[in-house]
């Protein structure tokens, strides 16, 4: 009896020993900063002097005294609300087209369509985008051919955020690949049977394809939503949060609070609020998912 427990203990120890590199990394670089930032959110901390406990002041200030916090939240919500559905729809349509035919050329196109996702988040693309939509940019030059002059895309509060949404939709590559993989998983006999029964393309799409890939839609939705809430580069480089904070993304505001104003405590509070929000939305989506997501295996044929 004693022997066995000793062996078990030994196994356990060995197990922990083998995962220890990961475990140490996890504790040092995830858990520790996480807990520290929670603590910091109740302090005033400018990096140079030690943090000072101020209780709930950061949180109170955030909700009652900081109009820019609301600007940032609004801008981010607007962005996520439009960017995620648009990007997913676009990704799905392209994936659908790719899944219908199989050929070497198509594989090449698949790679080409993925490129924006690889480079789209980069600073270089953001700078190019800035030029394209600028006052003297390509878009305005093209429009002037048709007699439309001087739309100030980046300087107008109504249009600025749409240039960012458009850039994000353009980077549809990774959800597209995931959709593509899911579409290939849909059993062909379902389509064959439906075709024999005389179902149209539209009917097959809504009654077979979409229900069959709902788990993947769920995955993409949550993934892209989290991604959307964390968007940074576009706003930081292309519009610098302007005009009038209409494109001030939450992550940019947080970064500025931390590294321009050196308010680490306040920035930590901002970060935790965002975490809570994203968590809340993820839970909501998960909770509603059993109404619209179809898992084949659960049916138990």
């Amino acid at each position: 009896m004693k022997n066995i427990s000793k062996k078990k203990k030994h196994d356990l120890l060995m197990g922990y020993l083998f995962v220890s590199p990961w475990l140490i990394g996890f504790i040092a670089f995830i858990i520790f900063p996480l807990v520290t930032s929670l603590y910091l959110s109740f302090t005033r901390y400018d990096i140079l002097t030690p943090p000072r406990w101020i209780g709930l002041q950061n949180w109170i200030r955030m909700f009652t005294q900081d109009p820019r916090f609301w600007n940032a939240t609004k801008a981010t919500f607007k962005y996520v609300l439009f960017e995620v559905p648009l990007r997913l729809t676009f990704a799905f349509i392209v994936a659908l087209i790719f899944s219908m035919k199989e050929s070497k050329v198509l594989n090449l196109y698949r790679a080409i369509y993925y490129i924006p996702s690889l480079i789209g988040g980069s600073v270089a693309i953001a700078v190019v985008w800035r030029q394209i939509w600028g006052y003297d940019g390509i878009i305005n030059a093209l429009l002037s051919i048709f007699g439309i002059h001087g739309i100030n895309w980046l300087g107008d509060t109504r249009t600025a955020i749409w240039t960012l949404i458009l850039l994000a939709v353009w980077q549809f590559g990774s959800p597209m690949l995931i959709f593509l993989a899911a579409l290939k998983q849909v059993p062909t006999e379902l389509y064959e049977a439906a075709t024999i029964d005389g179902a149209s393309f539209w009917k097959r799409l809504t009654s077979i394809t979409l229900p069959m890939i709902t788990p993947v839609i769920l995955f993409n939705l949550i993934n892209q939503m989290i991604h959307g809430f964390m968007a940074f580069t576009q706003s930081y480089i292309i519009t610098q949060g302007g005009p009038l904070d209409s494109t001030l993304f939450y992550a940019v505001y947080m970064y500025r609070k931390a590294f321009n104003d050196f308010e680490m405590g306040y920035a930590s509070a901002l970060a935790w609020f965002m975490l809570a929000l994203v968590g809340l939305f993820t839970i909501i989506i998960f909770k509603t998912s059993n109404r619209w997501v179809y898992y084949e295996a659960e049916e138990g044929v």
Partner: protein, 424 residues
């Protein structure tokens, strides 16, 4: 054989020991950090080379970045306890760094003659003083200016204004040029906080009070009247509309409208004249003080940047020696020229005079005009200025120009929000 080998080993160890210990006795390594353009990096590195040749016992390790990430980097270094021995510091940040005890008081080193400030005017030295002690050495002088394109003035048939021109003159000229030539009379960021600062001085106060704990002007009409003037000019098309400026983002001196031939006047710092003239292929721009309010001058000499010494440095004397070399050595000055603003030492200024290009000459003359007419340099900003600028000044400026708020409302909000931050 074996004995020989042992002897050899002992000798080797001894030699190693000597090698290790002997340079340590005299060789001093200093770290220095600054921000700037590539041009500044090149010039500064050349001066460091020169210094190391003259003082072979001091080795200098240089770190440099652009402005935008400079203070993020420096603050992180301070938090990690590995600040360089010599740091370039900005006027706006000086107070915070002094209050937190990161900078060494330099009065003793000046008294001992390690740093020689004999050829420097007192008010220029005092710009680095806080709470009665000298913490930073001014590296060059700058001032707010309007760059003016004389060719455009000639084309519009407008004579160049007198040195002490007024805001009324400015508006009149800008309107004539706009009407006759169809370009902007004045461009780019006229509501810059630096213009507003001058405006507050002309109105008998300053942006902040002496102790940096409140605003330095009583009447909110000072703020409101400034923006009323800008709105008026914006509506007439005499200055670019704010949404055009916002869409253009922050532009470097070379890309300003005046360099593209789209404007006759431009607010600038005097040391940026070099960059602007280069963009204009050497076409000579003139520098003017900002317009006066019925003769009252608000322009002042601003220390462009400072060198300060880390309070915890092991080698204060060597660090001070370098700073002294930087501001007083003629050979060094010939490399640096006026890239950091007009040198502070009268001797250096004299030595550089024959070497100046026409553009640099214009800068030197302009600085001496400001020295003659200008207001005294105000005290450094409160520590939270950056936060005020990012979260209060600029957003309100935009809101006024986008007409989401009236100048009068903004004036009240500005005071409220600034006080909220200063009291926190």
């Amino acid at each position: 054989m074996r004995r020989n080998f042992r002897l050899l080993m002992i000798l080797l160890v001894l030699v190693c020991f000597l090698l290790a210990i002997s340079p340590a006795q005299q060789q001093v390594t200093l770290r220095i950090i600054w921000w700037g353009s590539q041009d500044r990096h090149n010039r500064t590195l050349k001066v460091i080379d020169l210094f190391q040749k003259k003082y072979p016992n001091i080795k200098i390790v240089a770190e440099y970045t652009g402005w935008s990430e400079y203070y993020t980097k420096l603050t992180t270094m301070a938090a990690g306890g590995n600040l360089p021995d010599i740091m370039q510091q900005d006027h706006a940040y000086l107070r915070g760094w002094v209050e937190k005890g990161f900078l060494l008081p330099l009065d003793d080193l000046v008294a001992q003659g390690v740093i020689n400030l004999k050829d420097v005017a007192k008010n220029i030295v005092d710009a680095g003083k806080l709470y009665g002690k000298l913490y930073a050495i001014n590296l060059g002088n700058n001032s707010q200016a309007f760059a003016i394109d004389p060719e455009v003035f000639r084309k519009a048939g407008v004579p160049l204004p007198p040195t002490l021109w007024t805001w009324e003159d400015f508006k009149r000229i800008a309107r004539i040029i706009h009407r006759k030539l169809g370009i902007y009379g004045a461009a780019e960021n006229l509501g810059d906080h630096n213009v507003f600062r001058v405006w507050t001085i002309e109105n008998g106060g300053y942006l902040f009070s002496e102790d940096g704990k409140s605003l330095g002007y009583e009447d909110d009409n000072v703020y409101a009247s400034f923006y009323r003037m800008l709105l008026e000019l914006q509506d007439e098309g005499v200055i670019p509309s704010r949404d055009v400026e916002v869409a253009r983002g922050s532009v470097s001196p070379e890309q300003r409208f005046i360099c593209l031939g789209k404007s006759a006047m431009q607010f600038t710092w005097s040391n940026q004249l070099t960059a602007m003239s280069q963009a204009l292929k050497g076409k000579q721009l003139r520098l003017y003080m900002l317009p006066t309010l019925n003769g009252k001058v608000g322009n002042f000499l601003k220390p462009s940047m400072f060198f300060a010494i880390n309070a915890k440095t092991k080698y204060p004397k060597e660090a001070a020696t370098f700073i002294n070399f930087f501001i007083n050595d003629i050979e060094a000055a010939k490399i640096l020229m006026a890239e950091r603003g007009v040198p502070i030492s009268k001797k250096v200024q004299l030595a550089l005079k024959p070497l100046l290009t026409p553009v640099e000459k214009e800068m030197f003359n302009f600085i001496s005009v400001v020295e003659k007419y200008g207001a005294p340099t105000p005290a450094p900003d409160p520590e939270r200025w950056q936060e005020i600028y990012n979260n209060v000044y600029t957003p309100l400026y935009d809101q006024i120009m986008y007409k989401k708020i009236t100048p009068e409302e903004a004036a009240k909000k500005f005071r409220e929000q600034v006080m909220q931050i200063l009291k926190r």
